[in-house]
Amino acid sequence: MDVAMRCRPFPSSRPVRSPDASAARAARRADAGPRRAHGPRTAIGLLLSASLGLALSGCGASESPAARFARDPDSLKRGRSLFVGTCAAYCHGLQPGVRDAPYLFDCDWKHGGSDEEIFATIRAGVPETRMQGFADRMPEGDDDVWRIVAFIRSKSECR
C-alpha cells in the first residue's frame, strides 16, 4: 500500500465519536511521550499535535505499525486469519451485505477511521454495544491488533 493513497481523507468519516474513542485518544496523547520538565509548553503542545496529526494522516516518518505490516505478506495473511477468526464470525462480514455489525471495508467509520482509532477500538471495544475490547488478548499482543488494522486497510474499498 503506498503512502500517497493513504494520505487521502476517508470519505465518510463521521464527526461523531464515542466517549470511549475520545478516552482512547486522550490516553494515546498521554502515552505519546514523557513531558519534559523544561522547555516551553506551547512548543511541546505544537510538537505533540503535529506528530499526532502526522500519525493520524498516516504520512511522514511516524507511520503507524499497520503501514509497516501492510508491506509484509505474512503479516497481512495473519491479519486476515485473525480478522476471519475473531472479527468476522457472525459479526463483521468479509463481503458487504446485511450483517449484525458494521461492514468494515466501506470506509464508513463510526468510531474513527485512522489506523490509531481502529487500533484503539479493537483494544477498548465500544461501550453499550456487543463490540468487546480485546485489550491484550491477541496471541502476539498489539502487533496482532496492528496486523488486523493492516488487513482491514488492504481490503478497503476506498483506497
Binding site: S81, G85, V98, R99, R130, M138
Partner: protein, 610 residues
C-alpha cells in the same frame, strides 16, 4: 411509503413551535443534569440542533409493564401436572412449546380438515411492536394467548379478539450476548406462572392473571457470553432451561428450577471439567471454553421418568485445532434423571464438529416396529443433514438417513459415527462447497412436528451450502469465539432454497417434499385431520396436505415466517395462530434476501360462521 411517512413525521416535528426537548424540565430529566434544563430554558442559536433521537429521547418514557387490573382468567384453575401430562384433554389449550412432553407438536383437533381449511380467514392480528425475528410458539390457556416476542416482550392476549390484557417488557442490557438476534421462542406455563427465559440469562415468572412478576432468578452472568432463548420445559414442579452461548466459548449447561420459588434444583454441565468423564476428549484445557450450549427445548418420557436434552456446537465453531478430540458432550443427546439431573447415557451426533452442526434440533419421542418388536425411540432431523433414530432406553444407534437433498460432508457408519470427507474441513482459503451449510439441514431455531398415526415427521428444511473459512481463534470473555466464518455462497448466488419434507420415521424414506423458493425457517404444527401448518420466508402462512404435501391454503401475512404455529379450539371453532416477522440479517445470511419488511405480527385464523 415508509420513507414518505418518515419525511412527513420529520416535517411535522419541524413545524412544532419548540423542540420537544424543551418540555423536559430541570430536575425531572432522566439524566438528572441541571444543564439540560438551563439550556432548554434559553435556547441559544449557537447550540447544535437536537437530532431526531435526542428529541425522541426527550419524551417521557412510556410504561412498558402493563398489569391487568382486575386480573384475567380467574375462572380457570392453576395449570397442574395432570393438565401438562395430557395437554390436549381440553382442546382449547396449547400448553407446551412441543405440544406435549414428547415434542410432537401434533394436535388432535378435527374441526379443521382438508375440506374446510381453504376457508380459513383472519380472526384478528396483533402488532408486536418489536423487530428482528418473531419466533414464538404461543401458549393458550383459559381463553388467553400468551406470546413472547423478540427483545423478551410478553403479551397476554384475549385469544378470541386479540385485545392486549397485560404486557411485560424485560429490561435488557445494551451489551447482551445473543448469538443470532434478540429472539425468544416462547413462554411456558406452570401453576399460575408464565415462565420467560431471557436474553440476559434470567428466568422470570409472571402471574398469568395479572402479568405481575412472581420471581426473577438469574441463570448466570450474561456478560460471559450467555443468553437464553428457549421456552422452558415444565416437568412436574420443575422448569428445565438451557443456555445459549456456543459462539462465545461458554461452558454449556441446562438447569432445573422450582416453578413455585425460582430456586435452582440442579445444573447439568454439558462440558466436563478436569477429572470428569469425557474431559479426555478435549485437548489441553480447551474444555474451559468448550461451548456445547443447550439452547433449545428437550423432551420428557413419563414411562421411564427420563428427561432428554440436546446440545450444540463446541467452541470455537470453525477451527478445531486447539480442541483435538471428540469434544464431549457437544452435539449430543443426553438422557438424564429429572430429579437429580444426573446423566444416564449420551449419544453424540457430530464428534469434533467444525461446521456449527449443533445437535439440538427438535427431538420426537416415537415408537417404531422393528423385527416385530415395539421399540421406544427418539427421532431427530439433525442439523448435520441426517435423520436419526435412536433407542431411547439406552441411546443405541438404530439408523440415520439423509433428509436434505444436498449432502457431502460425511456418510454415517454402522455405529452411527460420521465418516467425514477430508475436503470439507474449514480452510484459510476454502474452495470446497460443503452441504449442509452451518444453519443445517434443520435448525434448532424452529421445530417440525410428528404425526404418530401416519408415522411421518414434517421437517422444515434449508438447502444452502457454504464455504467454511477458518481463522485464528482468540478467546476474550464475552466476545464471540468462532475462529472462522461461513461464506454463504449459495445465498449470495440466490441458489439457496428450502422445502418441507415428510420423513417416514420407521424407514427414513422421504414421503413427499413441498419445495419452497427460500430456505424454510419457520416451524410446523400438524393435526390428526391430516393438515400441516407452517410458513415461509416469503411471508405466507401455509396449510399442506399431510399425505401429499399439496398446498391446500395460503395467506400472505407480510413478514417472513420464523415462528412456530399452534392450533386450538375455542367455542368449538378451530383457531390457528402464527407469527410473521423475520430479520434481514439472518435472511441475507441464509437466503440472500435483503428487502425484509420490519416488524412482527401475530395472526390468528379461524373458520367463518357456517
Amino acid at each position: 411509503m415508509a420513507r414518505a411517512s418518515l419525511a412527513l413525521f420529520l416535517l411535522l416535528l419541524a413545524l412544532l413551535p419548540l423542540p420537544l426537548g424543551c418540555r423536559r424540565e430541570a430536575g425531572t430529566s432522566t439524566n438528572g443534569t441541571a444543564d439540560d434544563g438551563a439550556r432548554d430554558a434559553s435556547p441559544n442559536a449557537t447550540d447544535p440542533p437536537l437530532d431526531m433521537l435526542e428529541m425522541l429521547d426527550a419524551l417521557p418514557p412510556l410504561p412498558t409493564h402493563w398489569i391487568a387490573d382486575p386480573p384475567i382468567a380467574t375462572d380457570v384453575p392453576p395449570v397442574d401436572e395432570t393438565m401438562l401430562d395430557a395437554p390436549f384433554a381440553d382442546r382449547s389449550r396449547w400448553l407446551h412449546y412441543g405440544g406435549d412432553h414428547r415434542g410432537h407438536r401434533h394436535s388432535p383437533i378435527a374441526s379443521l380438515d382438508k375440506r374446510n381449511v381453504g376457508r380459513l380467514q383472519v380472526a384478528w392480528a396483533m402488532a408486536t411492536g418489536t423487530q428482528q425475528q418473531f419466533e414464538v410458539s404461543p401458549i393458550v390457556y383459559g381463553g388467553i394467548l400468551y406470546a413472547s416476542t423478540s427483545y423478551d416482550r410478553v403479551l397476554a392476549l384475549d385469544a378470541r379478539t386479540g385485545e392486549i390484557l397485560w404486557r411485560y417488557d424485560h429490561p435488557l442490557p445494551p451489551d447482551m450476548k445473543p448469538c443470532c438476534g434478540p429472539v425468544n421462542r416462547g413462554v411456558s406455563i406452570a401453576g399460575d406462572a408464565i415462565l420467560l427465559a431471557t436474553l440476559d440469562a434470567r428466568l422470570v415468572a409472571l402471574d398469568r392473571r395479572s402479568g405481575a412478576i412472581l420471581w426473577n432468578s438469574e441463570i448466570i452472568d450474561y456478560r460471559k457470553g450467555y443468553s437464553a432463548t428457549a421456552a422452558p420445559l415444565v416437568v412436574g414442579r420443575r422448569a428445565i432451561i438451557g443456555v445459549a452461548g456456543g459462539e462465545y466459548g461458554i461452558r454449556g449447561f441446562f438447569d432445573a428450577y422450582d416453578v413455585a420459588t425460582g430456586r435452582r434444583l440442579w445444573r447439568h454441565y454439558t462440558v466436563p471439567t478436569a477429572g470428569e468423564p469425557g474431559v479426555e476428549t478435549w485437548a489441553g484445557t480447551s474444555y474451559e471454553t468448550g461451548g456445547a450450549p443447550a439452547w433449545t427445548q428437550g423432551a420428557y418420557d413419563a414411562e421411564t421418568d427420563t428427561l432428554f436434552w440436546t446440545t450444540g456446537n463446541p467452541s470455537p465453531d470453525f477451527n478445531g485445532d486447539a480442541r483435538a478430540g471428540d469434544n464431549l458432550f457437544s452435539n449430543a443427546l443426553l438422557a438424564v434423571d429429572p430429579e437429580t439431573g444426573e446423566r444416564k447415557w449420551h449419544f453424540q451426533f457430530t464428534p469434533h464438529d467444525v461446521w456449527d452442526y449443533d445437535g439440538n434440533t427438535q427431538i420426537y419421542l416415537v415408537d417404531v416396529e422393528r423385527d416385530g418388536e415395539r421399540i421406544p425411540a427418539i427421532a431427530q432431523a439433525n442439523r448435520n443433514g441426517y435423520f436419526y433414530l435412536l433407542d431411547r432406553r439406552d441411546g443405541r444407534f438404530l439408523r440415520a438417513t439423509q433428509y436434505v437433498e444436498q449432502m457431502n460432508w460425511a456418510t454415517i457408519g454402522p455405529d452411527g459415527r460420521p465418516v467425514v470427507s477430508p475436503e470439507v474441513y474449514p480452510d484459510e482459503e476454502p474452495t470446497h462447497r460443503v452441504c449442509p451449510g452451518n444453519m443445517g439441514g434443520m435448525n434448532g431455531a424452529w421445530s417440525g412436528s410428528f404425526d404418530p398415526k401416519r408415522g411421518l415427521a414434517f421437517i422444515p428444511t434449508v438447502e444452502a451450502c457454504q464455504l467454511f473459512v477458518k481463522g485464528i481463534s482468540v478467546y476474550s470473555e464475552g466476545a464471540p469465539f468462532m475462529a472462522g466464518t461461513p461464506d454463504t455462497i449459495d445465498a449470495a448466488a440466490r441458489k439457496a432454497y428450502g422445502h418441507v419434507s415428510a420423513v417416514d420415521v420407521a424407514t427414513g424414506e422421504i414421503r413427499w417434499r413441498a419445495r419452497q423458493r427460500y430456505p424454510m425457517m419457520g416451524g410446523v404444527v400438524s393435526t390428526a385431520s391430516g393438515l400441516v401448518f407452517t410458513g415461509n420466508l416469503e411471508g405466507e402462512a401455509l396449510a399442506l396436505d399431510a399425505d401429499t404435501g399439496e398446498v391446500l391454503w395460503r395467506f400472505r401475512m407480510g413478514g417472513g415466517v420464523r415462528s412456530q404455529p399452534v392450533v386450538f379450539e375455542l367455542d368449538g371453532r378451530p383457531h390457528l395462530a402464527i407469527g410473521s416477522g423475520s430479520w434481514a440479517t439472518t435472511d441475507a445470511f441464509l437466503a440472500g434476501l435483503d428487502r425484509i419488511p420490519e416488524g412482527g405480527h401475530l395472526f390468528v385464523f379461524t373458520l367463518p360462521d357456517p
